[in-house]
Symmetry: none
Subunit: 410 residues, 2 copies
């Protein structure tokens, strides 16, 4: 069963708004066995909308349209749908009641708002629980088109409450199941080589995708078929094989951010953490504290950009800094010890490197980052080397630091 | 001049990745007078990619394709483009050198990586400064198709360095000029009221847009027309009027991140800065250090999530914490003083608040953040109050802290 998504609005094409609706809809449709074939964003122009709808109706069984339902003049989706389905707008008492309920006396009822109660004649109107724009469900030749508002809160409410259950009921669909693995310790090409024999032998109904991201590779297995039990069995069989090949290099079997994984681990083991950051500049602390409830295990950080701060607050010795330099294994070891001591935590990570673009030397080129993870008396270090630009060097160092901490705590 | 964007990858259709590339590209293309007609996302299937490309080439002058250029089996864009343009893949020594440079001997060169150096025969190959995937520029019947990697960092680097300048040169387009103003001290509705009379009187070819973002309002004036001189003159006239109305509330006339503005100010005045962060969790330090060369003025930070760290490292007194609580004006004043003392800097900012979703009380609801900015003996404080969710509360506190520091240093 195939769906196409059409998002309407000039704001998408000029880049003022990022289309987050489609990804959400794709996930939710997948969950009920409907595959999205294509996502199309078009401007608020009648002929362009008509062309996009017509093409989508030819290719897919289900077309979901969002946007262009507001009360202002640039919103023309409803009129355009009437043209496509050879119908006209009529006044709906039921929708008008909903518009009144939503405005709730807070916004004066004017003719623009009243226009929200005009709906296409030959469609089923679906209630919008959180907004004044109406939702229309059209059927033609066994195919379905649903028009929904583009405001994310309204779209998700309408999809969850009405559209998804109705689609699930209306169409008998294939089962699609995903299994994600987060993998560490490999560059993509090396991992691909290691997995090649297994990948080639995958049954036709199971597909593998690589989604690499700065030190982490996300692998996604997707299984598809008529019978849920059968797909599940096949997927589990391949999952088991992959686990055998990669073992501990798989650090998560859900698509979870590293900072959440670390947080769960620390909470479970009742441990506290801190960071001592030079080149990552507080970004590891920022990631750890982006998680609600992180105060349970995160105590604090020292961002030590200058050598003075490294000495004063992290107890790095002048001797070490002079002899080995700030970007060295010796320094990050002292930094990670210093963080655990100064911030009184069970474990810590430390980074010191040359994020770039300036500051590189022949011995320590831009991109060189020393990383340490410590848990009580055990300390591990790693030298990160490739230069991928300042922002990516920093993000990758954060990933590596958190991965090392996880390895250490396992 | 019209462009269409095609993004390729199953991950977009199943909703694992939100397409942020298209919005960025839409904005940048607009800046050089190219309008985006349509954005299409398709799966990694040859026939679907071919159909999308063929339709786009019929409608638009410029087709920009992202994604499907990785070394793994699911990436088929290059082969598909060869089919569309009736050509074949050939080995490029130049691209191979770039692949080697990017891998930098750190990742072993295997046949998959080497495959990255295979490029379509009848296209112009464009250098990818930050990745191993090659960029292909095709021309046919006066139309241009460019294929780029889908990794945002690689796409933006390639677009900025090569594709946008080349498109600008290749096509003659309307002149579109933007002038951005960053404004502080106003809620959007109050600013809109203040600017109403001026806005209504704007000439037709000049448009005003409001882009509010967590304590900052970005105003964008856009002029459009055939003649550069004429557009420039009109834009400058309106710019001067706006400056008269808003005066010092305009804190930048470029769309410059706050951390850059602060950095410039500190460099000019040869001052050093530090931060003492509780609820912002290191994110202000992260922003300040995201700027290359920030080590010239940024010395370090103390992220003091626990009260113990506030006392031990920032010299906040137990008495203050007990009497007024961690989220109080008194505490942030001691924190900002503590940061300047412990990290030996001329100025500092401090934050302490309840980012949420938990931790609120009737007196101090979620969203309450106390902020202090200090410069030598002068300290200013501000209480941020509205709750907009954890991530936005944190980001807004960072904006406010940096705006306060800027006001203080002016």
């Amino acid at each position: 069963m195939f769906a196409e998504l059409i998002t309407i609005g000039d704001e998408l094409l000029i880049g003022q708004v990022v289309d987050t609706n489609s990804a959400w809809m794709g996930r939710e449709l997948n969950n009920i066995g409907i595959e999205v074939l294509r996502i199309v964003s078009v401007r608020d122009r009648e002929e362009e909308i008509l062309e996009a709808i017509d093409n989508a109706m030819k290719r897919a069984n289900i077309v979901l349209v969002t946007g262009g339902l507001g009360p202002t003049k640039d919103d023309i989706t409803k009129q355009t749908l009437c043209k496509y389905f050879n119908t006209e707008l009529i006044f709906s008492e039921e929708v008008f009641e909903n518009v009144k309920r939503v405005l709730a006396g807070k916004i004066p009822m004017n003719k623009l708002n009243k226009g929200q109660a005009m709906v296409p004649k030959n469609c089923t109107v679906i209630n919008n629980p959180v907004g004044s724009a109406s939702v229309s469900w059209f059927e033609r030749d066994g195919k379905v088109l649903v028009s929904m508002p583009g405001v994310p809160q309204e779209m998700t409410a309408v999809m969850t409450e009405s559209v998804l259950p109705k689609l699930h009921e209306r169409f008998q669909t294939d089962v699609i199941m995903h299994q994600t693995f987060l993998v560490q310790h490999y560059p993509e090409s090396v991992l691909a080589e290691k997995l090649e024999a297994w990948e080639v032998a995958l049954p036709d109904c199971i597909k593998l995708a690589y989604l690499p991201k700065l030190g982490i590779i996300r692998l996604r297995l997707t299984g598809r078929g008529h019978d849920r039990k059968e797909v599940e069995t096949l997927l589990n069989r391949e999952k088991a094989k992959l686990e055998t090949i990669l073992g501990e290099d798989i650090f998560s079997e859900e698509d979870t951010p590293l900072e959440v994984i670390i947080g769960e681990l620390l909470k479970k083991r009742k441990l506290t953490v801190s960071t001592a950051e030079s080149c990552t500049g507080g970004s590891i602390a920022e990631r750890l504290t982006s998680i609600a409830g992180s105060s349970e295990y995160f105590k604090g950080s020292i961002v030590a950009y200058s050598n003075e701060v490294k000495k004063d607050l992290l107890y790095v010795s002048s001797e070490t800094l002079e002899k080995y330099g700030a970007v060295s294994e010796e320094t990050v070891i002292e930094m990670v010890k210093g963080a655990m001591k100064a911030l009184k935590t069970d474990c810590a990570v430390a980074t010191s490197g040359i994020a770039g673009p300036g500051g590189g030397t022949p011995e320590k080129p831009v991109g060189t980052v020393w990383i340490a993870a410590g848990y009580k008396n055990e300390i591990r270090t790693y030298k990160q080397e490739t230069n991928r630009g300042r922002a990516m060097n920093i993000e990758r160092a954060g990933n590596n630091a958190l991965l090392m901490l996880r390895d250490l705590l396992k």
